[in-house]
């Protein structure tokens, strides 16, 4: 009994379900915020709730259970596309949040969705990359198959779609047909989204081999790489000719986008692993570590700028920069379920709103 009881106790403390880390997105005067399995539409200024998903979708609501939301939704004129951990892509109505149609895959969807007028692109943990027409039908003859789970948001650049996979590869696909144009193999799984920069002609991608790489779009060869002491799982930020990326080794790195030369004397140290992507706002680099500490960094020299702000809960979702009444604001959703508006110039909280779910 002792053994069984203790195992149960250990089991209860050890098993935690997926919680989600979808980033907030803004669409016109609507702010879409995800928490666990819920997507809530707020009025941007007042934060009054307009609708939530699932919940206000009528009789079919029992059939809709996204379990958790990790990927950032995509918004087009037609619909809002929400990737669910249940392996389903939900197309929602802008005004009501009702499900217009859904598309099922065979694995959890952890990466985000990217969409334009031509199509909707996303990857699934079933190892496939999907392209759908705005109506929900498949665009390619068949989904593109990778050798591992796809857990990142694809990057669309012109007629090319760049996708990373846990099979250690970066794939460059023809966006209209889904055919592979080229691929680049790294030494470990890739879970962070690639970022394409036409100015340098490079695509940047961080991986579980603890390297942030720049791969030439023409030669398909590695141009440079910087090495951390743990995985890169954030989407890098390219701004002003510099690439910024946080690592799970509790450090933030800055490198010249073209050459890979370190832009700072030393990487900036934070109190926890960095999963949320960095944001550049008002001449200050905002980085949030997993333990919920918000740091202001001078992007030029990597020194602390404006101190830090403790949010009191873990943060795994990318922050969103929005234009507030008094200037730019940073919107953060904590794992604990709070929506926090932060003034990046003073690193102080403007508003905190608990989310349901």
């Amino acid at each position: 009994m002792f053994v069984v009881g203790s195992l149960l106790a250990a089991g209860c403390t050890g098993v935690t379900g997926p919680k989600g880390w979808a980033s907030p997105v803004e669409e016109g005067d609507t702010l879409l915020v995800a928490h666990r399995e819920n997507l809530i539409a707020f009025e941007a200024g007042s934060l009054d709730e307009r609708w939530s998903f699932p919940g206000s979708i009528g009789e079919d609501s029992e059939d809709v259970d996204p379990i958790a939301l990790y990927g950032t939704p995509a918004i087009t004129d037609d619909a809002i596309y929400v990737p669910g951990y249940d392996g389903t892509l939900y197309a929602l109505d802008h005004e009501t949040g009702e499900v217009l149609w859904l598309f099922e895959t065979d694995g959890p969807i952890i990466g985000g969705v990217i969409a334009d007028e031509a199509g909707i692109y996303f990857g699934s943990s079933d190892g496939h990359v999907y392209a759908l027409n705005p109506g929900g039908s498949e665009m390619w003859a068949k989904p593109f198959e990778t050798g591992g789970a796809v857990q990142s948001t694809p990057a669309l650049d012109g007629d090319m779609l760049y996708v990373t996979s846990l099979d250690s590869k970066l794939y460059a696909l023809d966006a209209s047909s889904g055919e592979e144009r080229w691929s680049f193999t790294t030494e470990a799984g890739l879970a962070s989204a690639p970022i394409v920069n036409q100015a340098t002609g490079l695509v940047y991608v961080g991986g579980f081999d603890s390297r942030l790489r720049a791969i030439d779009l023409d030669s398909h060869q590695e141009q440079w790489a910087i090495e951390a002491k743990n995985w890169f799982w954030t989407t890098p930020l390219v701004a002003g000719g510099v690439v910024y990326a946080g690592s799970l080794d509790h450090k933030v790195y800055a490198a010249d986008a073209a050459t890979g030369q370190s832009h700072w004397e030393d990487p900036f140290s934070v109190g926890g692993e960095v999963r949320a992507g960095p944001a550049l706002v008002g001449g200050r680099l905002i980085v949030i570590s997993r333990d919920g500490e918000v740091y202001g960094i001078d992007p030029e020299d990597g020194s602390s700028s404006g101190g830090s702000l403790e949010l009191g809960s873990d943060v795994l979702a990318d922050p969103l920069v929005v234009e507030g009444e008094d200037g730019p604001e940073v919107v953060v959703v904590t794992v604990g379920g709070d929506l926090v508006r932060i003034d990046p110039s003073t690193l102080t909280e403007i508003q905190r709103k608990p989310l349901k779910g």
Partner: protein, 299 residues
């Protein structure tokens, strides 16, 4: 308390987690094989404890006929208990001798459970947690995420049918091999039977809740345990008795009925001579006595 958790994590959970990832990397990234190999390594490492447990079990089985005799002979519970303890002392059986090895292994089980949970990384958050528990060695860090698929199993998810069955069955067989199969008191026998069924049922039920990777560990460790037990004392086992759902009390050997103390001394001698004791000493003793008498007559 924090220090205890820290020590538990850094002395057990993290080394075990890294060990599992390392073995998995060596065995072509196959986590199912890694769990099985890991089980073999763990059973080999805890062999001194297992051997002590087996010795205790064997001593208990050796004393079983005499315990039955005492249960028949003495109606007074106090006297019965005294006589039983006396027999236990004589054959070198200590109830704690069975419990200690279990207790020592218990933190390892919990740590292993947590390690499997971390290593399998059933959710993205778990994968993040794993990144903080891996040693800074590229060979390990580039090995994850591991392949969760093994045979028909997704090792990070519970299996609804076959694994609970295998866990329950293997545990039942192992228990039947370990627990004395007979008791004179029908009530005691009923309790024994119930206990032997309760644990396999409970673990089968737990298997429905936990990742099948942990169930694979349980099945593997039970099968290894059964094999060890077979080679350690298997030739003396009554397999028909083990697989019988309602075991009948074994007949008390005549030698024991004739003189319990003498038989007991002989048992101790045999342990000293051969380093092991037999549950069927009565027959061996009779043969030895017959040979001794024959030699005396010839002289």
């Amino acid at each position: 308390m924090d220090l205890v958790f820290w020590l538990f994590a850094h002395l057990l959970v993290i080394p075990l987690t890294n060990g599992l990832v390392l073995i998995s990397r060596i065995f072509w990234g196959n986590f199912g094989i890694a769990i099985i190999v890991f089980t073999l390594v763990m059973r080999a490492a805890t062999w001194p404890l297992t051997r002590q447990q087996l010795r205790t079990t064997r001593a208990m089985q050796t004393a079983q006929p005499r315990i039955q005799e005492i249960q028949k002979k003495y109606k007074d519970p106090k006297r019965r208990s005294e006589e039983t303890m006396k027999v236990y002392r004589e054959v070198g059986f200590s109830p704690m001798g069975c419990v200690w090895p279990m207790l020592v292994q218990f933190p390892i089980w919990i740590a292993l459970y947590q390690s499997i949970q971390f290593t399998l990384s059933s959710t993205p958050e778990r994968l993040l947690d794993l990144s903080q528990r891996l040693y800074p060695w590229a060979y390990l860090r580039t090995a994850v995420p591991l392949e969760n698929q093994f045979l028909w199993l997704d090792l990070s998810q519970p299996d609804a049918f076959i694994m609970p069955l295998l866990v329950g069955l293997s545990m039942w067989v192992q228990q039947k091999m370990t627990t004395p199969t007979t008791a004179v008191d029908p009530q005691q026998q009923q309790i024994n039977n119930m206990t032997q069924l309760m644990f396999p049922f409970m673990f089968a039920f737990l298997t429905l809740q936990f990742p099948s990777g942990l169930a694979l560990y349980w099945v593997a460790t039970n099968v290894v345990g059964i094999t060890m037990q077979y080679f350690y004392m298997g030739r003396r086992m009554d397999w028909r008795q083990i697989f019988s759902v309602n075991p009948t009390p074994a007949p008390v050997p005549a030698a024991k009925q004739a003189g319990g103390n003498q038989a007991n001394e002989d048992t101790s001698d045999e342990e000293d001579d051969e380093g092991e004791a037999s549950p069927v000493v009565g027959e061996a003793q009779r043969r030895r006595r017959r040979r001794r008498r024959g030699r005396q007559r010839r002289r």
